[in-house]
Amino acid sequence: MTSPGIDLSALSPAAIVPVLIVVVGSFAALLGGVFSRRRSVDVAIGISVGALALSGLSIMALHPLRDPGPVTAFSRALVVDGLALVLSALFIVAAFVSLLLAVEYLRLRPRLAGEFCALILMATSGMMIMAMAQDLIVAFIALEVLSIALYVLAGFSTEDHRSNEAALKYLLLGAFASGFFLFGIGLLYGALGTTVVAGVGDQVVRPGFETLVPLGVGLLLIGLGFKAGFAPFHLWVPDVYQGSPTPVSAFMAAGPKAAAFALLFRIVDQTFVQSPELWQGALWGLAVATMTLANLAALRQTEAKRLLAYSSIAHAGYLLLGVLAGAFDRAGAVTALVFYLIIYALMKLGAFAVVELLQERHEGDLDLSAFRGLSRRHPGLAVAMGLLMFSLAGIPPLAGFWAKMLLFSTAIRAGLIGLVVIAVLNSVVAAYYYLRVVVIMYMEPGEEPTATQKRPGALFATWATSLASVVLGILPTALVELSRRVAGGLL
């Protein structure tokens, strides 16, 4: 259905200026890091933060919220709508916070500062494109840009064998998942003759190729499920989060999941239209398996980053409720998803910032016992961590509650009451392990010194996010409105 010739007017490259700025910033940071021997860390970080800020400004200039109508670019390969732009802003925040966390880490290896910053920005641009993708091939390329940058980042602490292990594991499993994703695209193209996402739903299936459609979408689902960390494709998550340098773990927890969910939602949203019953069962099962397995596994964790990893997986399970509900109430589901992704990313960034503050080195394990006595040694930090944990558990009046409430409300309206009951019971299980961190900080005896590192960036991130959890908990109105308007301007 797309015309074979290239229609230049349909390119509208202005729409992707935010992405271009990040890409240019990435190269500039790389070069800046190389050419300024002495102060490479400052230069690389400075360039990156500048590029991120500029990109953020350009997003505001595109103001999706005043005019939420979607703009397609590159012959419908990309769509720049509210969802894409708000999530892009979220990725920028995630990248910014990870760079903040990484300052001291990079001071230990100044020669690599440029590369680190460049990789973070590259991954960011990949995520931005993923959130905009309307064509499966473009989505695949964006996914690979993101993944390859993350493989390298996961193994960035070359001297730490955990980090190496994380990178290798991530690379092998990730490549495998990419294979699934690509194969899925191939099958769909075979059946439909198009790779445009919207086409998957609209197109008439070629006679004799009917079975390829569910097969293809199923493979796409597996590929994305891997990236987003759904059970049973989640096994890499704890190892990679644990092994990666902490600033990278924070970035992985906050950004890629949102990107994967945006893409998943767009694909499911388009294919549900014709045959909802086809995927509902699969997503239902994935949701139940993901949240239940993750929450049960999290109960037994004794290492902070693994605990946070399992908590991320569990949150991915809850988020699937939103994707499922999208078939019934599209606007409500997108509102809930966007709100949830933003809140969740902030909380996770904050929690990893606390981990970074407690870690002497920037990678490796942080046993939960390191939190013991924190409430005496650093009462402020303990309060911040407590707020983040309660917020992740979804206890009002903190922001995490509204995320859960909107999501469950949408799901109930879509008639998924059984699933919501399973989800809330899961959140009780989850409350136990979040509460355990608080118990360790406040209630367990032990005066052994918990040293915190002097890391102003991480401290700032901790305070900003925990403050946000309170402010957005008491006054979520503006963010709800924003999410709502994003949902209104969906393609």
Binding site: M405, V428, T477, V480
Partner: protein, 520 residues
């Protein structure tokens, strides 16, 4: 119509805000000295109590009607997209609960004067935030606002138990948290489901809409809400968190747990469960009555064998709250009024018991009955006050406990003529005897006899500060015993309006399909 106090003076919001301001003041106080923190705490709770007393002026109990149940309402948009409002107001029952809460919070601060030795600043912040959340629960007229306050209470409470509690405090705190949260999240499902069916979170609106809109799922919804409230009350099979939490909590925590938090469960049934799902409530009320009776007897039986004074008082709460639930579910004015009064009575009496036990613990650092004996002579003031409080808890005529239990039993007897036979009222009355057994036996062993343990000699009697708190509590114990009308008058009109409205709702409901309970 209610009389407005001044023009545009949002008295309820001010009341809820004062403890938060106090908590902020504690956090920001440059001096962490004990007296500074304690003064801030006392000042904020007293100010809150004062403002709550102002409510009496704005509330005209006799003008409550089924169609105009709430007074002093304030309503502001909060999250307009989802129709969530900051919507508060009171009726006679919530007014009583608010007064009880602000009163017990003052007692709570007085009880913490010396017992809290470390991290007093954080302690006071928790206590004050807890007060705000508790008050919010009783005045919220928007389901989401209610839920926010209801859950927000968890955080300070779990910290109070877990940080400043007794030896098994962590176990007790975690158990309390998980039990409560289990119920709460199911209630959240109920709230959201109800929203899906009716499109509103406003309680007054739901009282009109819910009985009809939610009819097909009334039993399921009743249970989703009811589990949360039954855990809080606690009703019989859900009570196991209570003895641990009450025993391990610091004195102020126990006072507020028993005095206020348990009432929230009952309040939830009164405010939400029954008016929203009247038909289901009617269908389920025999079960509720029997669970209440099991609670009365089981709680009493457990209290009989306790060796720990605090644990004994905790089990006595299970028994007393059984009376409250019995009164509520016998569906007549006597029962209902008895239940409401019994809530206040139990708050005051059990609050006083925990306060006195706390005073004993401060001096001897043990809660075991067997460690005491012969205190009658060594602590004359405490032992006499304790006697009055214990008798009020048993239900001696002339003290407050009697009136509430008596009304409940009358209510139960009256409904016996209608439907359920005399077994419930007979068994419940047995509970009163059991109460006398455990309370008096405990009292005898602690206070009478000769001093066998030399540590019990020369104990310091109540200090002046403790005496102030004890006298305040005693005042209400006697006042409510002699003139229960001061409390009953506030709630009478509300109770009968409540019964009338629910009868009308059942009437309207049963004319439709007779309460199916199938879930999707």
């Amino acid at each position: 119509m209610g009389v407005d106090i001044g023009v545009g003076f949002p008295v309820l919001s001010v009341m809820v805000a004062i403890p938060v301001i106090g908590a902020l003041a504690c956090l920001l106080a440059t001096s962490g000295r004990r007296t500074v923190i304690l003064s801030i705490g006392l000042l904020s709770t007293v100010a809150t109590a004062f403002v709550s007393a102002l409510l009496l002026m704005g509330f005209a109990p006799e003008s409550v009607r089924p169609d105009l149940p709430f007074f002093l309402t304030e309503r502001y948009e909060w999250i307009p997209t989802y129709g969530i409002d900051y919507y508060v107001g009171i009726d006679g029952i919530s007014l009583l609960m608010v007064l009880l809460t602000t009163f017990l919070c003052v007692i709570g601060v007085l009880a913490s004067w010396r017992s809290v030795e470390e991290r007093l600043r954080e302690y006071m912040v928790c206590l004050l935030l807890l007060e705000t959340a508790m008050l919010g629960v009783f005045i919220a007229l928007d389901l989401i606002l209610f839920y926010v306050f209801w859950e927000a209470m968890l955080i300070p409470m779990v910290l109070l138990i877990g940080v400043w509690g007794g030896q098994r405090r962590v176990y007790a705190a975690v158990k309390f948290f998980l039990f409560t949260m289990f119920g709460s999240v199911l209630m959240l499902v109920g709230i959201l489901w109800l929203y899906g069916l009716t499109g509103t979170f406003s309680v007054p609106e739901l009282m009109g809409k819910a009985p009809i809109a939610a009819q097909a799922h009334a039993v399921a919804l009743f249970l989703l809400f009811g589990v949360a409230f039954a855990i809080k009350v606690p009703m019989f099979p859900f009570h196991t968190w209570l003895p641990d939490a009450h025993t391990e909590a610091p004195t102020a925590g126990s006072i507020l747990l028993a005095g206020v938090l348990l009432k929230m469960g009952v309040y939830g049934f009164i405010r939400f469960c029954v008016p929203f799902f009247p038909v289901a409530a009617g269908v389920l009320s025999p079960y509720m009555v029997w669970l209440a009776i099991v609670g009365i007897l089981y709680g009493g039986a457990c209290a009989l064998v306790q060796t720990d004074i605090k644990r004994l008082v905790a089990y006595s709460s299970v028994s007393h709250l059984g009376f409250v639930m019995l009164g509520l579910f016998v569906w007549n004015v006597q029962g209902m009024q008895g239940a409401v009064l019994q809530m206040v009575n139990h708050g005051v009496s059990t609050g006083a018991l925990f306060f006195l036990v706390g005073a004993l613990y401060e001096r001897r650092h043990t809660r075991m009955v067997s460690d005491y004996g012969g205190l009658w002579d060594s602590m004359p003031v405490l032992s006499r006050i304790f006697l009055v409080v214990a008798l009020s808890s048993i239900g001696l005529p002339g003290l407050n406990g009697f009136v509430g239990e008596f009304l409940v039993l009358i209510g139960a007897a009256e409904s016996a003529q209608a439907a359920m036979g005399y077994w419930p009222v007979t068994l419940a009355a047995t509970g009163v005897i059991v109460a006398a057994c455990y309370m008096l036996v405990m009292y005898r062993r602690v206070f009478f006899g000769r001093i066998t343990n030399p540590k019990n000699e020369g104990l310091r009697d109540l200090t002046r500060r403790e005496l102030v708190a004890a006298v305040l509590l005693l005042f209400w114990i006697v006042a409510l015993g002699v003139r229960p009308g001061i409390a009953l008058g506030l709630s009478e009109q509300t109770s009968s309006a409540w019964l009338e409205a629910n009868a009308a709702r059942i009437e309207a409901g049963t004319h439709g399909s007779a309460g199916g309970g199938e879930t999707r």
